[in-house]
């Protein structure tokens, strides 16, 4: 399997990519490129245009404008050919509930024209990968949410895709199920599978993505690796202080000058600084005593807040 490099082949190239529904521009002229072996993330709140972008890459929804090449082909003209080489994990599981776990993998593999003989072996591998060997003969409706998600991912791998697309892969899962899933996706990344992931969870994006595109209202707000984005748009540390919802705004006036920047949220004040502890000392010296205080590393949530003035999960 080919590994990624700077000169790696372009898997997805978008220039001025646009999708319009009536008067609403869901995706508004975005440019990006994804290279072979890369793990590329689309980060943004609900309604940012992530899923619409994914549908256009998945070659099921035609673009309204701009250029798009997937695996070197135009999806408006070669949709079925492109889709033959993609793996898709949709936001909403669309498994066949009447069929057993292994049957779901079999019928999906057949859609790609794969032989039953090949699929027999592949199904065993995929069940092992998804930790569903024991559930092989269970009906899908008997699986937990995390298991269904893993089965959907296994199904998306049945044709050994050039690009695996995952739309909100862990939304709705409990923390343990999310971690199991991240582990599986990380293994795919190690194998060199090109991944395109949408998420509104910053920890997920940090865990899985080599490079990110932050989207809001159909536009790209920033692009880069998680570390680059944090370095560029946020400080090293963040001090979170709470003075009570009614006092935060008044106190914030007195905090001006402490740290590089302040962000006043309804329930807390964020002080962006390279040294959270020192900033807290300065606050206390001003005879201000927060109800609670917390020093943490900057995250993509802070990047998003800086770029859009809004929180990622609303």
């Amino acid at each position: 399997m080919p590994k990624k490099s700077k000169d790696a082949e372009d898997m997805i190239v978008a220039k001025g990519l646009t999708k319009v529904y009536g008067d609403f521009k869901a995706v508004d002229g975005i440019d990006f490129t994804v290279k072979r072996g890369e793990s590329f993330g689309l980060l943004g709140p609900n309604g940012a245009g992530k899923s619409t972008t994914m549908k256009m890459i998945a070659s099921t929804s035609q673009r309204s404008g701009g250029e798009l090449l997937i695996l070197g082909k135009d999806p408006n003209k070669h949709g079925p050919e492109i889709r033959a080489h993609l793996g898709v994990v949709p936001q909403q599981d669309n498994l066949d509930r009447e069929l057993k776990v292994w049957e779901n993998l079999m019928v999906y593999g057949r859609y790609f024209g794969l032989s039953r003989k090949f699929l027999k072996g592949k199904i065993n591998e995929l069940l092992e990968f998804a930790q569903l060997v024991e559930k092989r003969n269970n009906k899908v409706e008997e699986l937990s949410g995390g298991m269904k998600r893993r089965l959907t991912i296994a199904r998306g791998l049945v044709n050994e895709p050039e690009i695996l697309m995952l739309d909100e892969p862990t939304t709705g899962l409990d923390p343990q199920a999310r971690h199991i899933l991240w582990d599986r996706l990380f293994r795919l990344k190690e194998l060199g599978v090109t991944l395109v992931i949408t998420t509104h969870y910053m920890d997920e994006a940090e865990q899985l993505c080599d490079r990110l595109m932050v989207m809001d209202k159909g536009k790209i707000m920033a692009e880069g690796s998680p570390a680059e984005l944090i370095k560029k748009y946020s400080s090293k540390e963040v001090l979170e202080v709470r003075f009570g919802s009614e006092n935060n705004a008044t106190v914030a006036e007195q905090l001006k000058g402490i740290g590089d920047r302040l962000e006043i949220l309804p329930d807390r004040i964020l002080v962006y600084t390279d040294n959270g502890e020192k900033a807290l000392e300065k606050i206390v010296k001003k005879n201000l005593h927060p109800v609670t205080s917390l020093v943490r590393r900057s995250s993509l949530e802070d990047v998003f807040l800086r770029l859009t003035g809004r929180s990622l999960v609303e």
Binding site: E103, Y111, G113, E160, E162, Q176, I180
Partner: protein, 285 residues
């Protein structure tokens, strides 16, 4: 459940470029969809047989044989079209079986495919196109329709209601009626966003009147003129008339013969074209 890190899953990887030939799936997509639908159907094979044969058999016993005896007693055993009542009724029951068999496979599975389980979206994320999904669903529906008609034909043959020579012809006619009506219903079902009892309404106000007023139990001309139109636009009547002409030689004028076939096949063609458009639009959203 914890993550088992003791065993590393092995994953062989050739890559889709070598593994998948897009042309194979592009050519056979509809067959793969039909394969999936038939796999689903097999999960319910007992119900499929029971419902498919149950209703028409009840009609056969109660009306064909029960009322048939009454009719034959009062107008003689050659009373309607010069044949026994059971012979007269049999082609109509076969058309009903065909329509019902195909109908069951285009209504609920379509709602399931678009709304409940969204399996059509899963199919469409592979090489399979919207048109291939339509064709695959119709192929599976027709497979069930043909099977149901054939089993019912054996039943009618056992009761002496049809001759074995008429089996292929009656199968073709009844399946054509099933095709015409179910193609239109497939387009209709593809428009439904959620099941709010619409299929029950269709069952009561479209399928049942079509069954009752299309010359199934008596010649359509026995009805007052203001009710005869139901038959004229109904695939049940067109299929039944063709079936009767094949089964016992009921005279049908040439122009009417052409009209019967045109209506059944025309409904099918229009239904399919509509379904293609609706599926394409809905899957691209």
């Amino acid at each position: 459940m914890s993550l088992d890190t003791s065993t590393e899953p092995k994953m062989t990887w050739t890559g889709a470029k070598t593994l998948v030939d897009p042309q194979v799936a592009i050519k056979r997509g509809a067959l793969y969809v039909a394969e999936n639908r038939i796999m689903n159907m097999l999960k319910w094979w007992k119900s499929v047989i029971a419902f498919g044969l149950g209703n028409p058999t009840l009609y056969l016993l109660s009306i064909g044989i029960g009322i048939g005896a009454l009719v034959d007693n009062s107008v003689g055993s050659n009373g309607i079209d010069g044949v026994s009542y059971l012979t007269f009724l049999a082609p109509a029951l076969l058309v009903t079986a065909g329509i019902q068999g195909a109908l069951d496979e285009v209504t609920w599975p379509t709602l399931e495919g678009f709304t409940w389980e969204r399996t059509f979206f899963a199919m469409n994320s592979t090489s399979i196109t919207a048109r291939q999904i339509v064709n695959g669903v119709m192929l599976a529906a027709m497979a069930r329709c043909v099977l149901q008609i054939f089993l019912y034909e054996l039943c009618l043959l056992a009761f002496g209601a049809i001759s074995w020579q008429s089996i292929p012809g009656l199968l073709l006619v009844s399946a054509s009626a099933g095709f015409g009506f179910s193609a239109v219903m497939l387009a209709f079902a593809a428009n439904i966003k959620d099941d709010d009892g619409i299929f029950a309404i269709v069952g009561r106000f479209v399928v049942t009147p079509m069954f009752m007023f299309s010359g199934t139990f008596y010649p359509i001309t026995s009805l007052p003129i203001y009710l005869q139109w139901i038959g004229w636009i109904s695939p049940q009547w067109h299929g039944t008339n063709l079936g009767r002409s094949l089964s016992y030689g009921m005279p049908v004028e040439n122009w009417l013969f052409i009209l019967h076939w045109s209506l059944l096949l025309g409904m099918g063609a229009i239904g399919l074209l509509l379904a293609y458009r609706i599926f394409e639009k809905r899957l691209a959203k």
